[in-house]
C-alpha cells in the first residue's frame, strides 16, 4: 500500500494562478499525516486530485505504483475513502443506511446491500462506539457523531487510505478530542490517514507527520516536532506563538500557545 504524489501542479483555468505548485510527498502504512495551512492554500484541491475528482493536473499521483488517472472511480474507491466535513444532510437517512452506503462498491450495479453488508456496518459501528445510533436520523445526531458515522462508512468501504477534510471542523472541544483519538487508533491499526486541520496542536498530539502548505507549495514536511516551530507558524499564519513543552504523566507534549498582544502588529 503506497501513495506517492510527485510534482503535482494544478490550476483551475489557464488564466488563474496555480493552486498547487510542485507538491511532492509520499505516505506509508500507519502514517497519520496532518496537512496544515491557511484557508485557501490548496489543501482541499490536493485532496480532490488524490481522490481522482480532478484529473487535469501536471505531475503524477501513484497508488501502488499505478497512475491514479488511469483508474476509474470504482478502482480508486477500493483503496482510498473520502471523509468529508460532516454537513447537515438533504435527506435524513438513518445512520445505518449512511454507513451501508460505504458498501456500494462491493455491490453490482443493480443490487442492494444484504446481510453480509449489514454485518460489516454493525462491526464498523461497534468499532467506533455508535451502534446505539443505528436507527437515529443522520440529521438528528450531533456533529461529532455524524463525523464518526462518516468514518464508519469509510471503514466498510474497506479502503486502507482515508482522506479527511478537516474532521474536527465544527466540533466542540470534547468531540474534537474523541474523534481525533479514534482517528489515531485507526492509524495504529495500519490505515494511512491524510487529514487537514487548522490546529497545530492536533498535529503535535496525534500526527506522526505533518505537511505545511502555503501558497500552493509544500514549505515543510516532517515529524511535527521537527518542523512545527514558532517561526514557521509566524510565517504562515502571521501570528506569534510560543511552543511549550510539558511533561504530562508519562507523555511528553508540545503545545502551541498564541502570544496575546504581540499579534496586533501583524493584523
Amino acid at each position: 500500500m503506497s501513495l506517492e504524489i510527485s510534482h503535482l501542479s494544478f490550476a483551475y483555468s489557464r488564466r488563474t494562478r496555480l493552486v498547487l505548485d510542485d507538491v511532492s510527498f509520499s505516505v506509508k502504512k500507519g502514517d497519520l499525516l496532518a496537512v496544515l495551512g491557511p484557508n485557501g492554500v490548496g489543501k482541499s484541491t490536493m485532496f480532490r486530485c488524490i481522490l481522482g475528482f480532478l484529473r487535469n493536473y501536471k505531475g503524477s499521483i501513484r497508488l501502488n505504483g499505478k497512475d491514479i488517472r488511469t483508474l476509474d472511480h470504482k478502482e480508486i474507491a477500493k483503496h482510498i475513502a473520502y471523509i468529508p466535513q460532516s454537513t447537515y444532510p438533504v435527506f435524513n437517512y438513518t445512520v445505518l443506511d449512511v454507513i451501508l452506503m460505504g458498501t456500494t462498491n462491493q455491490l453490482n450495479l443493480l443490487s442492494v446491500p444484504g446481510q453480509k453488508q449489514i454485518d460489516e456496518a454493525y462491526a464498523a459501528m461497534d468499532n467506533l462506539g455508535i451502534t446505539h445510533l443505528r436507527n437515529a436520523g443522520y440529521g438528528e445526531i450531533s456533529g461529532g457523531e455524524r463525523q464518526l458515522a462518516l468514518i464508519a462508512r469509510a471503514l466498510v468501504q474497506k479502503a486502507r487510505i482515508l482522506i479527511m477534510d478537516e474532521p474536527t471542523a465544527n466540533l466542540d472541544y470534547g468531540n474534537q478530542f474523541r474523534v481525533m483519538c479514534r482517528i489515531s487508533g485507526l492509524a495504529q491499526e495500519g490505515y494511512i490517514i491524510i487529514l487537514s486541520t487548522h490546529n497545530p496542536d492536533h498535529a503535535f498530539l496525534y500526527a506522526n507527520r505533518t505537511l505545511m502548505i502555503y501558497g500552493g507549495k509544500v514549505i515543510a514536511d516532517g515529524t511535527p516536532e521537527d518542523v512545527l516551530d514558532a517561526k514557521l507558524i509566524r510565517d504562515v499564519y502571521g501570528m506569534d506563538v510560543h511552543i511549550e513543552e510539558c511533561q504530562c504523566g508519562s507523555r511528553h507534549h508540545r503545545l502551541c500557545i498564541p502570544i496575546i498582544g504581540a499579534t496586533e502588529k501583524y493584523g
Binding site: 472511480h73 474507491a77 435527506f91 450531533s142 474523534v179
Partner: protein, 395 residues
C-alpha cells in the same frame, strides 16, 4: 424539507452508564432520545398502502354518473378473468379457476351490456391511465429530487412539461387529431430535456446547477413558443382545446393510450427501481458518490433518461398535472423514511393511488369534468399543509 426537530443524544450509553468514550452533547436529559430507537414497521405500512390503493381501484369502478353496484363490478371483473383463463385452455388451471370461481360467478350474466361497456371501455382505461400517470410522475419526481439533492424539485425541472405542452399545442394548431397530440407531446418533452441536457454539458462548472439553469432556460423558451401558438390559434376551437389540454385531464384516455404509456412507463420505472440503492448514494452529491466508487455521469444519465421518458409519456396522455411529482415523494418519505429502497416502490403505488383518487373527484364533483391539474393542487395542498403542521412524523 420535512425533517423532524433535531434531537440530542443522551449523556449516557445504552447500558445506562456514562461512557467517556461516547460522543455526547449537553442538555440531553429532557430531549427525546435518538439512541436505540426502533424503526417503525415499514413492511406493515407498505402492505396497508397497497391495500388502500387496491380498495381505491375497486371504488373507482363504482363511482361515476352511470351507477354500477360494487357487487356487479366485482362480478364483471371476475367473470372476465374467468373467461380469459378458460380461453387459455390450460387443463389444470381451468379446473382450479372453475372450482374457485363457479360459486361466485353466476352461470348467466346478471348485468347488461351497458354496464359491461362502462366498466371495460370507459372506466378501466381511465383507471389504468391514472395509475400509470401518477406512478410515473411521482417516481420521476422522487428520482429527480434525489439526483438534484433538492426536495423542491418536480419532474418537469428539465423542461419536460414545457416541451410536451408545445408539442401538444402544435398538434392541436395543425388539427392533427388526438393520436398525434400524444405523439407530439411525447416528442416535445424528449426534445426539451435533450436540449437542456446538451446545454448543460456545454457549460463549465457545477453540473447540477448548470442542469437546473439549462432546464429553466429551455423550459421558458418552450413556454414562450406555446404562448405564441395560443396567440395565433383560432379562438373558437383551437385556443380552448390547447387551454383545456394544458390543465390536464384523463377524460379522453383510451386503451391505446394505456398500452402506449404502459410500455414506456414500465420500461422507465424498472431501471429506476433497480437502481434505487445507488440513488441513495447519488443524493450525497457528486464528490461523495464518486469517492464510493459510483460512476456518477453514467448514473445521472440513466436517471435523466428514465425519468424523462416516463414524465413525457405521462404528460402526453394526460396533459399537465402539477403537484403529484413534487409532493407524493414527500408523502412516501413521511410514511416510509428516506431510503430510496422504499421510496421508489412507495412512489409507484402511492402516486398511482393518489392520482386515481383525484381523478374520481374530477369526474364526480361537478356536472362537467374538472381538470385534474386544478384538482391535484386543491386536494394535495391542504393535505400537505396538514402533514407539515403535524410535524411530518405522526404517520
Amino acid at each position: 424539507m420535512v425533517d423532524a426537530v433535531p434531537t440530542r443524544s443522551p449523556l449516557t450509553g445504552p447500558d445506562g452508564a456514562t461512557s467517556a468514550d461516547q460522543l455526547h452533547t449537553a442538555d440531553a436529559v429532557s430531549a427525546p432520545s435518538v439512541s436505540d430507537r426502533d424503526l417503525p414497521n415499514y413492511l406493515l405500512r407498505f402492505v396497508l398502502l397497497v391495500i388502500a390503493v387496491a380498495l381505491c381501484v375497486i371504488l373507482s369502478f363504482v363511482v361515476g354518473r352511470f351507477s354500477i353496484g360494487i357487487s356487479d363490478v366485482i362480478l364483471i371483473l371476475l367473470s372476465s378473468v374467468f373467461q380469459f383463463v378458460i380461453s387459455l385452455n390450460i387443463p389444470i388451471l381451468c379446473d382450479i379457476v372453475q372450482i374457485l370461481l363457479s360459486p361466485i360467478v353466476p352461470a348467466t350474466e346478471a348485468w347488461d351490456d351497458a354496464m359491461y361497456s362502462v366498466v371495460f371501455n370507459i372506466r378501466l382505461p381511465r383507471i389504468l391511465a391514472a395509475l400509470l400517470v401518477g406512478a410515473a410522475l411521482s417516481t420521476a419526481g422522487a428520482a429527480y429530487q434525489g439526483m438534484f439533492q433538492n426536495p423542491l424539485v418536480s419532474p418537469d425541472i428539465l423542461g419536460a412539461s414545457a416541451g410536451a405542452s408545445f408539442g401538444a399545442a402544435l398538434a392541436i394548431y395543425f388539427y392533427l387529431g388526438t393520436g398525434a397530440i400524444t405523439i407530439f407531446a411525447f416528442a416535445g418533452g424528449l426534445v426539451a430535456v435533450g436540449a437542456a441536457y446538451a446545454v448543460s454539458r456545454l457549460t463549465r462548472g457545477n453540473t447540477t446547477l448548470s442542469m437546473v439553469l439549462a432546464g429553466i432556460l429551455v423550459g421558458s423558451l418552450f413556454t414562450a413558443s406555446t404562448s405564441y401558438i395560443k396567440l395565433i390559434a383560432d379562438t373558437n376551437d383551437q385556443l380552448p382545446a390547447i387551454t383545456y389540454w394544458l390543465m390536464g385531464s384523463l377524460a379522453g384516455a383510451t386503451m391505446e393510450d394505456v398500452y402506449f404509456a404502459g410500455v414506456v412507463i414500465l420500461l422507465g420505472l424498472v431501471p429506476l427501481f433497480l437502481l434505487r440503492w445507488r440513488m441513495n448514494v447519488l443524493t450525497l452529491g457528486e464528490d461523495e458518490a464518486k469517492s464510493m466508487g459510483i460512476n456518477t455521469d453514467l448514473l445521472r444519465l440513466i436517471v435523466i433518461i428514465c425519468a424523462t421518458f416516463v414524465t413525457a409519456v405521462a404528460v402526453s396522455i394526460s396533459g399537465i398535472i402539477g403537484w403529484v411529482g413534487l409532493v407524493i415523494p414527500h408523502f412516501c418519505r413521511m410514511l416510509l423514511g428516506y431510503d430510496y429502497r422504499r421510496v421508489i416502490p412507495a412512489a409507484i403505488i402511492m402516486g398511482g393511488g393518489f392520482l386515481l383518487l383525484v381523478d374520481d373527484f374530477a369526474r364526480t364533483i361537478a356536472t362537467t369534468e374538472v381538470p385534474l391539474g386544478i384538482l391535484t393542487a386543491f386536494v394535495g395542498a391542504p393535505i400537505f399543509a396538514y402533514l407539515l403542521m403535524m410535524g411530518g412524523r405522526r404517520l
